[in-house]
Amino acid sequence: MIGNRTPPDSAAIALLQQRAVQLKRNMLVQARGKGQGYLGQGLGIAELFAAMYFHELRYDPQDMTDPDRDRFLVSTGHYAIALWAAFAEIGLIDPAILPTYGADGGQIDMTTFDAVPGVEMTGGSLGQGLGVGVGIALAHKLDGRSARVFVEISDGEVQEGSTWEAAMSGSAFKLDNLVALVDCNGIQADGAIVMNIEPVAQKWQAFGWDVVEIDGNDMAQIVDALNWARAMNQIPKAIVLRTKPGKGLPTLEAREKAHFIRVEQNEWDLLTRELEEQNA
């Protein structure tokens, strides 16, 4: 069983940070194979995914159907690139298939389908994840299971009305086994956030959730927030993560079109070098 709930020291934080860098390497391998992909989002959320799969979640990679596993729902299907990066590290997929990301007939698509072991929901239609998470958390309460439910959603999804229907029910049903991880990276399909969603944290608070807002690329802050979210006080938790698309690769961080990244073939070596230099 992976999942160690003791508060990590600085050495443990550094190890988790190395995990995040490895996830970023895996994402580069995927995007390079395809020539394009949702690399900006993936790099921006790598620290969270590393913290989830190597610190917070309790699960057995040999049995991802265990009813008592913690569940991590990735509502944003296009964050598949980050999931496959993590799955390659925990043994759910063979790292050798990472270059087949998004390939016709391949196993690891550019979006998520829950027929793939370890994928907890079919993402892609934004605004569905939190409600599904509410349903799982509610069923766990009914069955007296201690397993917890984490739902990653994006800032774009905050614009969907269904997200707020779900938020309302999460607090009404007193689901303290439910944690929303709100990735605020400031971009959506049409560019910078096109409909103002601020103040995000206050919105969750108004819907009856306990909220913290953190630098979503700072591993120590992520781990702190996850520790905080364990409080069983009948209130669901929201962690608002301010993240930077393309984090760790200054060339991509500077890109204006970060929602869907295309990279010329001659740039990949440069990006790979850049990632290693940043983390040397």
């Binding site: 829950d114 929901m121 079919t122 605004g127 599904v132 509410v134 958390a137 069955d143």
Partner: protein, 316 residues
């Protein structure tokens, strides 16, 4: 149950059952701990209150939020529950379509959706009349779509929905629902069955329209014309074989449905007969391509040609 509106089109003096859905669900849930009930502020109007009273810990009302209703049901199904979900058909299908398609059907989740007020069974106007829900639902891959005729069939369908793997959509008649089908009839998922034998005209019908077709057939009989009725409660998967076999025997063929003709039973029958190479004139009795006004179900069904009297006039 409570003050549920009775079917105004049900002739008085006929046998009927009060809230057949709720009664059957309570019985089912007694034997199956995984059954949970969900609604979106329409518990009192969709006959689920007997379940809520019997199993208060397993009953959840999400408020006026149909997208979340379906999403929460999907999540509960992912965690091993079998949610029975009620709202009006219009809200389930028009508001929560994407959630039914992606969150439920795509994952083949055991979510059983009962949409009340099919077609013209409400007086409340176009916002509440689910006149195109079957067409919408049958377009979703993998879904099972059922339009039961009467109280007994609704009760059978509650059990059948539980036994049918995956996502099921049922058109639900609420309140005091008549018994109309022959006593020896019992529902089988995916099966169309002949509920009245006859020789001159073949009627293919579904839902409450089969009850009205039976009445019309009795009048036809009295006027010297013998009508057979094939009842098709399961619209998906569609019983092609039974429809083709039935249609072969009749030169005069008609469909009757409490639903728009476009995309509903008539369309399905036409598709199926053409594919089998059977060319017959098909008289389509159903709702027009129009939103329908406010009015009592009996008045509206007569005005739009799907009452027993109007079916009789159309076919004699």
């Amino acid at each position: 149950m409570l003050n549920s509106t009775s079917n105004a089109h049900a002739d008085s003096g006929k046998r009927s059952i009060q809230a057949p859905f709720g009664a059957a669900l309570v019985k089912l849930a007694t034997h199956h701990d995984d059954v949970v009930g969900l609604t979106a502020d329409l518990g009192k109007y969709t006959d689920i209150m007997p379940f809520a009273a019997a199993f208060p810990d397993r009953y959840f009302n999400v408020g006026m939020a149909e997208q979340n209703l379906i999403a929460v049901a999907a999540g509960m199904a992912k965690a091993g529950k079998t949610p029975f979900v009620t709202t009006y058909g219009v809200f389930a299908t028009r508001r929560a379509y994407d959630f039914i398609a992606v969150a439920c059907a795509h994952s083949n989740l055991n979510v059983k959706i009962f949409g009340a007020l099919p077609g013209l069974t409400t007086s409340y106007g176009a916002s509440h009349q689910a006149i195109e829900d079957s067409a919408l639902m049958r377009a979703i891959p993998g879904l099972t779509v059922i339009d039961p005729c009467d109280a007994s069939e609704i009760m059978d369908v509650v059990n059948a929905a539980y036994d049918t793997p995956g996502t099921v959509y049922v058109r639900l008649q609420r309140g005091n629902v008549p018994i109309a089908l022959p006593a020896d009839y019992s529902f089988k998922t995916g099966k169309a069955q002949i509920v009245k034998a006859g020789s001159d005209i073949g009627i293919i019908s579904t839902g409450i329209s089969t009850a009205h077709a039976l009445e019309a057939a009795a009048r036809l009989e009295a006027s010297g014309k013998s009508a057979a009725i094939l009842h098709v409660p399961t619209l998906k998967p569609f019983d092609h074989a039974a429809v083709v076999e039935f249609a072969k025997s009749f030169d005069q063929l008609a469909t009757v449905e409490n639903h728009v003709k476009e995309g509903g039973l008539a369309t399905q029958v036409a598709e199926c007969l053409f594919e089998a190479g059977i060319v017959r004139k098909l008289q389509r009795i159903g709702l027009p391509d129009a939103f329908v006004e406010y009015g009592s179900p009996a008045y509206l069904m007569d005005k739009y040609g799907i009452s027993a009297a109007k079916i009789f006039e159309a076919l004699r």
